[in-house]
Amino acid sequence: MNQINGAIYEIHHMDMLSSRDQWVNRVHPLVKLVLTVVYISTVVSFQKYDVAGTAGMLVYPMAVFLLAELSFADSLKRLRIVLPLVCFVGILNPFLDKHYVLIDGIRVNGGILSMVTLILKGVFSVLASYLLIATTSVEKLCCALRMLHVPKAVVTQFMLTYRYVTVLLEEVNRITQAYMLRAPHQKGIHFRAWGPLAGQLLLRSVDRANEVYESMLLRGYQGEYQYMRERIGFVRQDLAYLLFWLGVFAVFRMWPVILVVGGLFS
């Protein structure tokens, strides 16, 4: 199950990327969060045959990849979940869609276009999320969520879960490796061990949680979880960044920029 090692690596890797001292990383986290959500909403809102319009939204991820000096190849791994999904959902479009569109005077099946836009939407939205988490650390993201008045209880749970995810992943790794070394012909956990294996892990996790609680009590914890930053200040660059991109999104949404620019050539 090197899936687990992969997960641990992924967490460490994203953390490393987001903690670089880099221009985009320094932009206010709330600005990046808002832009990501607005970007994804915009991309997804394109009409299903509007391939050119959707494709134009390429500029945002492309720019951030370049500005933040991130590797595009690195992000391709993330597409492995979304691509099969959108293909499954869109695969029958060319067959079921009875509408046709003229391109170069040739009739093209609308379903092919809608499938292409679906794939583009899928890819762009995943890339946007990747860019968010690759340039914003989890701590700063939590601060941004608090600034949006997401309840403290929710943000605290997110933070604590994130803190212990790698610890638990390594424990799962250990148990399953120990299991595999004694069950060389099996690929997964045999059903007789379902209960005990995961159950032991659960009990150990509960014990750990109790210890964490004791540790918190001994350092003065009395119920008020106030130990995260509630606010980060804005600077002019943050506002400029926000307005610039919102403007770009608006322009690219309303006009098919690619076709307009291309029209200048013909």
């Binding site: 569109v101 939205s125 964490v212 690619i258 076709l259």
Partner: protein, 333 residues
């Protein structure tokens, strides 16, 4: 069953965010973290446990395939509906952000489809009533299986509904549902068995860990059953209203299916919302030559498309490099 962003329209995503947010705020009130302070670290570590445990491959006897744990039911059985729900939100956020398993825009949908059904319905409708009058291995197993199956069925159906209303796929609703439901019935059953195995183990080792084992926990949520029904009813009304708005502002999907169903006769949609939605679409596509409302129209030439794309990419790359150079110079000063 995690939904990707590409599968939802913004209006649908927004609606589900609102529903999930309402459920979250309600949970925060109910969980009373300021009184029972121990729950805070327990919820956090349990969230990490569920996340990690969902990566374990449990081999299904007889077949060659593997199944996984059902997070929602597991957390409900350990933390109760409110604690479980809040913890699931954290788990879904990590899955979505760090592993692209579920989109950011679709988070509201995912929270509803998985956490809400798993924790509110799973715990309140199934776990609690069944555990009344004492627990037993059989009851635990039955509740797990039933809970998982119900959660996944409702979740899968919601996914179909949300995707369909967003107008993403040409798949007829019936066929979509017809493939999703049976698959998730099987998955739900397997997940239920695995979850049951683990919960029975916990019951035999440390029964006090299970939700509902103490008198206090049995009291908890007694009146919340009615509240939950009220929340569900409100959500249904809200969802219905907003989704119909979404559907009407996305006439393509619905139009097409109306055409197919009614044999080309377009149903007269009554004024107000439909016209408003129509005019929004008019203004957002400033060049109506490129309007593509399901009819044959010129998309332009492919040459202009390719040339335009190349030009835009080059311009973007160029601007970025200039910007970086500019920053380097100003930083060196």
């Amino acid at each position: 069953m995690h939904m990707a962003d590409a599968l939802v329209a913004p209006a649908v995503a927004g609606t589900m965010f609102a529903c999930s947010a309402a459920a979250a705020v309600y949970s925060v009130k109910q969980v009373k973290l300021d009184i029972d302070t121990k729950k805070v670290p327990v919820m956090g570590v349990m969230g990490a446990f569920v996340f990690a445990a969902q990566m374990i491959n449990f081999t299904i006897p007889g077949t060659g395939s593997s199944g996984h744990l059902c997070g929602g039911m597991m957390l409900s059985a350990l933390l109760g509906p409110w604690g479980g729900f809040l913890t699931m939100i954290g788990v879904l956020l990590i899955q979505g952000l760090l592993f692209a398993d579920g989109g950011l825009l679709a988070l509201g949908c995912n929270i509803w489809n998985m956490a809400f059904y798993g924790c509110f319905l799973g715990a309140l409708l199934i776990w609690k009533p069944m555990m009344k009058g004492g627990m037993s291995k059989v009851k635990i197993a039955a509740a797990s299986i039933l809970g998982c199956v119900l959660t996944l069925q409702l979740g899968a159906f919601s996914v179909c509904l949300e995707t369909y209303v967003s107008g993403i796929t040409e798949l007829p609703f019936g066929i979509f549902v017809g493939t999703m439901q049976p698959i998730h019935l099987a998955i739900g059953f397997v997940e239920g068995l695995i979850t049951a195995a683990v919960l029975v183990f916990v019951y035999e080792a440390r029964p006090e860990l299970l939700f509902g084992s103490t008198e206090k926990e049995q009291e908890e949520g007694r009146f919340s059953f009615r509240h939950t029904l009220a929340v569900l009813a409100a959500a249904a009304v809200l969802t219905g209203g907003l989704l119909s708005l979404a559907a009407s502002s996305n006439p393509d999907g619905l139009e097409w299916s109306i055409e197919k169903v009614a044999g080309g006769v377009e149903l007269e949609a009554d004024g107000g919302i439909y016209e408003a939605a129509g005019s929004i679409q008019e203004t957002t596509s400033l060049l109506p030559d490129y309007g593509l409302k399901g009819s044959e129209s010129a998309l332009g030439t492919s040459v202009s498309g390719i040339a335009g794309a190349a030009a835009v990419v080059a311009l973007c790359a160029g601007l970025c490099h200039i910007f970086k150079l500019f920053r380097k110079c100003s930083e060196q000063e």
